[in-house]
Amino acid sequence: MTDETVTEPLGPVTTLATPIRLDFEFTPGVAQSRFLRGLEQGKFMGQRCPKCGKVYVPSRGSCPTDGVPTTEDVELANVGTVTTYCVVNVPFAGQSIEIPYICAQVLLDGANLSFMGLIQEIPTDEIRMGMRVEAVWVEREELKPSLASVRYFRPSGEPDADYETFKEYL
């Protein structure tokens, strides 16, 4: 050390940063693997509860209402209904899509559970509950066992769904 060494007191420690990162191997399980393999083939696969008949997509292997295994695989339509939505105008860290964009709950035809999807090819002020949408997939050779295989949903051009048909899923 030289004479130039700072000798001023540094003051009390007020913050302490301890970076933490953990890595995990994800196990999707039997049911969710079917869903992911379906995405790899460009289709939505769900499962039906043998007791109440409801179709879950993706299924985690059980009916959350009845607690019984869902064993019957059901291929769902490529089209569905926007049950509710959000127009995202606020930038945040890690954002990969240009704002503003539409995030919506899409109830696929034949399903009893909606899931979140990106809506594109429509001005944000035209999105509405009940809008009919269809999935736009990545190119065939780019399909993967991941929701990234679905690029987004876009208006299908069909007339809006009647509120009565999706009010249960809000």
Binding site: T18, I20, L22, F24, T27, A31, R60, S62, G67
Partner: protein, 359 residues
């Protein structure tokens, strides 16, 4: 009574117990799929359904699979409709059983499902478990649980309370006994002398003194009074239950003793009668010496006839399994009175003691 541990006021029984096969890595099933057969079995054993229990309590930690709210989604394995009272502890399932037992003692409920799931394999346990330590002084150093256990084992040797040969004898006995437990993960008959030829993982602990990494799940149905007798031909009664903990600062503890276990054993009434079997949740071989002494058990007591956590250590489930195995030793006629112990945290941080008796 107050919502604390102690002797039973209202008779409560372990009416049914089930556990999954314990394996090194279950890469086929998600948590719901792991739990569903266990829940179905624990109800099926006594011919009841989810509609027959008033309360559900689970023990698990999201840190193990890195999945937020995995404890909520796990409820899909039971199917909670119509809605009912439900709770969760970020602890081993033995503490979930404690919560249910307190509600049963207070007379708020008549029956409860307790379950636990532990998928220990998806992440690096040495890193994950170091995060349960005090976040200012210990966790930033990332001390892994094996090294901490080795410090404890070293202290035990230095205090003249145990030797490496003792650790090997415990591991050898546990895994030999596990050969009669079809759910065990590590079951083999290797003499202590052979085990002592292994290299150290962290001195003075060799591989045999460490628990296996285990994926597994378990469930118990607790029932009060008449309901227990109605459901089960051989209900096993919980006569005392208590849990205590040590200070969180490892440096402030005598790692060679377990005063929290001793206190829990006093409150639960371990010494009120002879103990035939003890299921001790000592993940590291040397910890069995500490817990056995803290419980006040002598060498007439059969310890871990199931093989214990050295034969299968599904995190968050292994403590609940000790209660289930202790109950099973009574219902099979092997024991009249048994003690189950569960632990959580580094170096026996938290300890739970449960006393069980047959009719």
């Amino acid at each position: 009574m107050s919502a604390g541990g102690g002797r039973t006021v209202r008779p409560v029984a372990v009416a049914s117990f089930a556990q999954s096969q314990n394996v090194r890595r279950d890469d086929e099933h998600n948590e719901v799929e792991m739990l569903m057969p266990v829940v179905a079995e624990v109800f099926g054993n006594i011919g009841i359904t989810k509609d027959d229990v008033d309360f559900i309590c689970s023990g698990s930690t999201d840190y193990l699979i890195g999945g937020p709210f995995s404890f909520v989604t796990a409820l899909d394995a039971v199917g909670v409709w119509p809605p009912r009272a439900e709770s969760h502890v970020e602890m081993d399932g033995a503490w979930a059983l404690y919560e249910a037992w307190v509600l049963l003692q207070e007379g708020e409920i008549d029956a409860a499902l307790v379950y636990a799931f532990g998928r220990s394999s998806p992440g690096n346990l040495n890193e994950i478990l170091s995060l349960q330590l005090d976040p200012y002084y210990l966790a930033p150093l990332w001390p892994d649980p094996v090294s901490l256990a080795a410090l404890q084992a070293r202290a035990l040797i230095d205090a003249g309370k145990g030797s490496e040969a003792d650790f090997a004898a415990i591991a050898s006995r546990s895994r030999r006994d596990a050969m009669s437990n079809p759910k065990a993960q590590v079951a083999k008959d290797i003499p202590p002398a052979t085990l002592l030829e292994e290299d150290y993982v962290v001195a003075p602990l060799r591989r045999h003194a460490l628990p296996p990494i285990t994926d597994g799940a378990a469930a118990i149905v607790l029932a009060a009074g008449d309901k227990a007798g109605l459901w089960s031909k051989s209900p096993v009664w919980i006569t005392g239950l208590d849990h205590r903990m040590e200070t969180h600062s490892l440096g402030a503890r005598d790692l060679t003793s377990s005063p929290s276990t001793t206190r829990a054993a006093e409150v639960a009434g371990v010494a009120d009668g002879p103990v035939d079997v003890a299921e001790i949740h000592a993940p590291f071989a040397h910890q069995e010496i500490i817990v056995k002494q803290a419980l006040g058990l002598d060498d007439t007591v059969t310890v871990n006839p199931s093989g214990g956590p050295l034969a299968a250590n599904p995190l968050m489930s292994a403590g609940l399994i000790r209660i289930g195995e202790a109950a099973a030793s009574i219902s099979s006629g092997r024991a009249k009175r048994a003690v189950a112990h569960a632990t959580s945290g580094p170096c026996l941080q938290q300890n739970l003691v449960c006393v069980l008796e047959g009719e």
